[in-house]
């Protein structure tokens, strides 16, 4: 990088000007990556040590390898089928190519083939969105934990409804919520006399218990008010 030999020039900002680069890209037009977690966990048990973690880039193989220069990226279950889809906001650089300025929506066709559990939280003493709450499920000897957030990544925000992958398991043996304000821990093994079954959504209201719901399903527009907030 000539900036190293010409720091005085660097300080003029010339290396950051369009004219310095000309019509050449700068690490542009590169594929997004999907790093699949292929860690061998021994049937869901936690990995014994960090060194065991192993990932493979399957973006090309799954078709998630969008090449536009994305900045923001968000994941949520936009079609309520139990898996997380992806949306990105792309910057066209100075390519002059209109198609590179389009947003990309990638529908997930994989997750729905396995079992899942969706969890929504409603804070009472804690903030209503339950941001900062941590949900842990136990299923078939394995544990998983998710955090409720409102903003992360680069200028982005992901689903506040938490998604757990259950693989072939028919449900969760337990579900534990740690609420952010009070630190109160609530643990559930059943919902009424029902198990915490797969392919459902549950809602936990702080101090008031757990409800078994379903994700809203397709309605003729406009619809889908099944889980509208009861204030």
């Amino acid at each position: 990088m000539s900036a190293v030999a010409h720091i005085k020039d660097y300080k003029t900002g010339k290396f950051y000007r369009d004219e310095f680069r000309g019509d050449i890209s700068w690490n542009g037009y590169e594929h997004n990556v999907l790093l699949r977690n292929d860690t061998d966990e021994g049937d869901g048990a936690k990995s014994a040590n960090p060194a065991a973690l192993r990932f493979h880039d399957v973006a090309m193989a799954t078709g998630a390898d969008d090449i536009k220069d994305a900045r923001g990226m968000s994941t949520a279950d936009f079609d309520n089928d139990g898996d997380l889809d992806i949306v990105t906001n792309s910057n066209p650089g100075d390519s002059g190519r209109a198609e590179l300025s389009r947003a990309t929506l990638l529908r997930n066709n994989v997750g729905e083939r396995r079992n899942w559990l969706a969890v929504e939280l409603r804070g009472k003493e804690s903030n209503r969105d339950a941001v900062g709450a941590v949900v842990t499920i136990e299923a078939g000897g394995g544990k998983q934990m998710r955090l409720v957030t409102a903003g992360s990544g680069f200028a982005s925000q992901h689903t506040a409804r938490l998604y757990f992958g259950l693989g072939e398991k028919n449900g969760a043996d337990s579900l534990t919520v740690r609420w952010p304000r009070t630190g109160r821990v609530e643990r559930f093994e059943k919902i009424g006399d029902q198990p915490i079954g797969a392919r459902r959504m549950v809602r936990v209201t702080e101090g008031e218990g757990i409800e078994l719901l379903t994700l809203p399903t397709r309605q003729p527009s406009p619809g889908g008010k099944q889980i509208a907030a009861a204030n």
Partner: protein
């Protein structure tokens, strides 16, 4: 002191301290200078060799590839490369093959030729390829050095014999044992027996000067992976009228999302022309998912340089642009980020819009029977003030959490630098952005800037903010990713103040931070950290001698005086011993920090292979395949120009 004495002190003290830091004398400086020049020359020479190699691969030109190898090529422990299927990783229409060496044996150029020739035949059609210099590992002599290089190829290849979708047998494809066909064949491929593949290989190579040119005299396989797949795991919805559609049907949108991004038009005006840091105009923008009308269908907000947009998910497989109907402005330059958060705890998500060129805005979510969603946003920005009153907010990122445990959500906002007058202080450590802010929610959508009381003094170019209680003490901490180095982990002390614990926690990341996310990626019940950085495949630029050279140049050219505070900070963070590798670390790519359960972190990026080559922006942990293990998605790419050729 006289003016003259003051001047002497001013000019000499940084230099003296610098020399102390380096612990060097004149000879050492000469050595550094020579070494830096050598490194630069060798880097360029290596790139030339790899460029020739790549062009040979692209054209399946064996002679051209072999011309990169020295006639005296010799390796005691080489061997033919074997693609061995990783059975654990075979699922969902995806196959992963690990590259291994067959029996190690002495190898000469003839064997290499055999191997390359065989390999090129397996490739089929090469659609894209790169062969990048990762780093110069060792300068052995002026005529000899060792590098790490990265070969990346994608295309389509003959699937026959690789047991696609087949049974349990281990499949081996060998690039070398000529005459031995691949084992197994069940031919479940497309009509032409072709499958899409992508290969990523890291090599270690020894290069030696041969007159004016350089040749490979020895090489080792560090790691290699080939992945094949049906590319059906995700569907790009562009052209689809509905989320349900199996095939594109000519829609000029993705199920109604017709958002296109724009540059900020203010950058073309005299008031906002980014004279110092022009490239900022390519930085926008974020995207946020939130259910603003509580109908159970997630809606989407896009930040933008000029026209931010809100799309409502109608629940029938389509989205519609409701920006105006929902009470948001038709045009609002510089809104880079939106955060959906129920800031008044009334059960509906309010909306914070962070702005770079101008004022940020706050909207309350209210009932509106006229709008299809039954909800809309009303601006309540008045309750929202920052302590620093520049002519703009310079905000590019934001995230909400209840930092004081009073039951409402507060906001942390991250700022860029003022590109009209500032550019990153140095290439690898920058502290001259406009300074982040912590805003305390005092109820009724009134916020107080408590940055100073909280002891927060973050002036990096902040492109990522992520909250989470990483040490389980009941208080929300915050991780801040800063471009041009370095990131910061701010521990919430529980008394309204924060302490920068980046160094003692082990999560000190010197890279070009562009994104931060917290989550439990190893299923052990604590929060790990993943950040996006740059791993450009020209890692050698940032290597030790080059960083020393940068320092030397900055002394010679006098910029050291302005930049001295950042050198002092680096010294405080890494001490005097780690300067040789600091530059290397800044460009090592995305990083995964694993929490040991007690708030201490270990960087496992290299071993876990989560530091791919590229220039990454937003990234996240999510379990896309619902198998119970969190995966990572990371957006890649900086600037595409008229030519896609790389700088």
């Amino acid at each position: 002191m006289s003016k003259k004495q003051k001047r002497i002190v001013f000019y000499s003290s940084p230099l003296i301290v610098l020399l102390l830091i380096l612990g060097v004398g004149k000879m050492k400086l000469d050595y550094i200078e020579t070494n830096a020049q050598l490194l630069a020359q060798m880097g360029q020479a290596a790139q030339k060799v790899l460029g020739e190699y790549k062009s040979g691969v692209d054209k399946a030109d064996i002679a051209k590839v072999l011309n990169c190898y020295d006639d005296k090529y010799a390796s005691e422990k080489d061997g033919f490369w074997v693609e061995e299927e990783d059975l654990q990783a075979k699922r969902d229409g995806v196959r992963v093959y690990q590259w291994k060496l067959s029996d190690a044996k002495p190898f000469g150029k003839a064997e290499v030729g055999n191997q390359v020739s065989r390999y090129l035949k397996t490739l089929g059609k090469v659609e894209e390829s790169k062969f990048k210099l990762d780093s110069v590992e060792e300068v052995i002599s002026p005529q000899s050095y060792r590098i790490r290089s990265f070969l990346w190829i994608r295309g389509t290849r003959d699937a026959v014999g690789r047991g696609v979708d087949g049974g349990a047998e281990m499949t081996k494809a060998s690039f070398g044992d000529a005459g031995k066909p691949h084992a197994g064949s069940d031919g479940k491929t497309d009509a032409h027996g072709q499958e899409a593949f992508e290969t990523q290989v890291l090599f270690r190579m020894w290069l030696q000067a041969d007159g004016d040119t350089w040749k490979i005299t020895r090489q080792e396989l560090i790691s290699g992976t080939t992945v094949t797949g049906d590319r059906k795991g995700f569907t790009d919805m562009w052209g689809h009228q509905s989320l349900d559609g199996e095939a594109a049907n000519g829609a000029n949108s993705s199920a109604g999302i017709d958002f296109v991004s724009h540059k900020n038009p203010l950058f073309a005006t005299p008031e906002w022309e980014p004279k110092a840091f022009e490239i900022i105009k390519y930085g926008s923008a974020g995207v946020s998912a939130g259910d603003y009308d509580n109908d159970g269908w997630y809606d989407v907000f896009f930040g933008d340089g000029e026209r931010p947009r809100l799309y409502r998910n109608k629940g029938d497989g389509t989205f519609e642009d409701v920006t105006l109907a929902a009470g948001l402005p038709e045009r609002a330059p510089g809104i880079n980020v939106g955060v959906f958060a129920d800031l008044d705890n009334d059960g509906y998500k309010d909306l914070f819009l962070g702005c770079y060129t101008g004022r940020s805005r706050l909207y309350r979510n209210v009932a509106d029977q006229q709008s299809p969603a039954g909800r809309k946003f009303v601006e309540v920005t008045d309750g929202f003030k920052f302590a620093n009153k520049g002519d703009s907010d310079f905000i590019v990122v934001a995230a909400a959490a209840d930092y004081d445990n009073d039951g409402d959500l507060d906001l942390y906002v991250g700022r860029e630098l003022d590109a009209r007058k500032n550019l990153p202080t140095t290439l690898f450590y920058t502290r001259n952005a406009e300074g982040n802010s912590l805003l305390r929610n005092d109820g009724n959508l009134h916020f107080t800037d408590v940055t100073r009381q909280a002891g927060i003094n973050e002036t990096g170019i902040t492109l990522g903010v992520a909250w989470g209680d990483y040490d389980n003490d009941g208080w929300q901490d915050v991780y801040v990713a800063n471009d041009f180095g370095r990131d910061a982990l701010l521990h919430n002390n529980g008394n309204g103040t924060f302490t920068d614990v980046s160094k003692q926690s082990g999560a000190y990341d010197p890279g070009y931070g562009m994104s931060a996310t917290l989550g439990d990626i190893d299923n052990d019940g604590d929060l790990d950290i993943y950040v996006s950085d740059v791993h450009s495949g020209q890692r050698w630029y940032g290597q030790a001698a080059t960083l020393y050279k940068y320092l030397l140049t900055s002394v010679r050219q006098g910029t050291i005086y302005d930049d001295f505070p950042v050198y002092k900070e680096i010294y405080n963070n890494v001490g005097g011993t780690d300067w040789s590798s600091y530059g290397d670390k800044t460009v090592k790519g995305n990083a995964l920090y694993i929490n040991d359960g007690h708030g201490k972190f270990t960087d496992v990026s290299e071993a876990a292979r989560v530091n791919p080559f590229g220039w990454f922006w937003s990234s996240t942990m999510f379990d896309y395949d619902n198998d119970g293990r969190q995966d990572i998605y990371a957006a890649n790419g900086w600037i595409t120009s008229k030519s896609t050729q790389d700088l």
